[in-house]
Symmetry: none
């Protein structure tokens, strides 16, 4: 079953609070297992491109069911490059997104963009901890 | 000045509450004056394409500074058609989005998709009323 | 032979001066016979999409060697629609652009977007008059 | 606040004069902070693709608020690659563009393409010096 909007909003708010503590300005995007958008915010001052990058990271993480960071070293492989092309750039195998699970099942993912990617991921983890 | 995230979240929550009262399942998207995403949600059960359509309606409304409904009759003009193409479909001159103003200045727009477009717009208005 | 940059700048400045007199805020684009950009400006306050629309009108006018207004009634024909698609929206068969000729030869075109399209074309004519 | 057209024209003319001194044939594009076009020229003899490349470099520089040259080493990162795709190629993390600032605020950027990229950037700097 996919993440509900009410769960996604809890993830979003907790991730946002953590980013604020870190002093970074980010966009945060929660997607369902298919990568379709459930909820998103861009914090004041975050670059205009960050919502799409956060979304792309979340899609990537939901697709493979793993943190997007673990795909980074394969980012130039033919499969990753072709996926990026087919999805029109909305696929970003770079640190900053984590899968959201219920038990063993992937029910969605949260992706973040705008800070150093280590801090993006840390904020994503803070989001997951709120569930 | 652009709408802030905290203002956008108030618009979003009020529009969502109104849609729930109407019993429709929609996506709601708030953008800044340039059409870039500030906040978005997809209600449980809303079709996966609705976030992009809500975004496209909001972009349209922010671009012209008018309700997207007023552009509907010109939707087949060459300028509208070419804009839809250049923006890769993320331009939807159809009822369901309203500009957000501070005094005379357009500070963003809210777009909704998923219900009958008259009810989409009515929910958008409920969002504006929360500001 | 194509229009030179120095000629294009004279067209641009004269068209801009006329638009200022009319009190409209427009983008103006001069292209060569192939439709490639030679010079462009967006006046303060003109909508962000207007440079691309002005460019699209100019491409249209240079392609056919006629005012873009004369193509408007055929805008929904299969050829026009397919051209708009192939050019990714950068083809706008609507009033506001005029071909630039040296004798009988089309050496470029000037396209304008942002005002009522009759005034866009009138400003384009003022640009041509400067040559 | 965004750069005005009159400021952009001064940047453009000074950059063009410098390029002429260097004997290179380039396109020059000035954008606002969002990357939307404010003014552009293609010098006689510059390749037809150079206006779009200059625009892409300027968008890149405005987006990050830094010289586009500083992003060149990260050009193959997933975020850069995905951004290039999402923007349909209109993102060029390569030397030749500089941000335009008023105090600490990025008010736009100027991008140049057509010469050796070191000389493109040098001409962009000559443009900035005119402000």
């Amino acid at each position: 079953m996919a993440i509900t909007l009410s769960e996604a909003e809890r993830v979003l708010q907790a991730a946002k609070a953590h980013a604020q503590e870190l002093g970074i300005r980010v966009s945060i995007c929660v997607v369902d297992p298919r990568g379709d958008l459930v909820a998103a915010v861009r914090m004041d001052g975050a670059r205009w491109t960050t919502p799409e990058i956060a979304w792309g990271k979340a899609i990537t993480s939901a697709m493979y069911g793993v943190p997007s960071a673990t795909l980074q070293e394969r980012a130039n492989s033919p499969v990753m490059q072709s996926t990026m092309l087919r999805l029109g750039g909305r696929f970003v195998p770079q640190q900053g997104a984590l899968p959201i699970k219920r038990g063993d099942e992937v029910i969605g993912a949260v992706g973040i963009s705008g800070g150093p990617s280590q801090q993006d991921e840390e904020s994503a983890q803070a989001g997951l901890d709120a569930l």
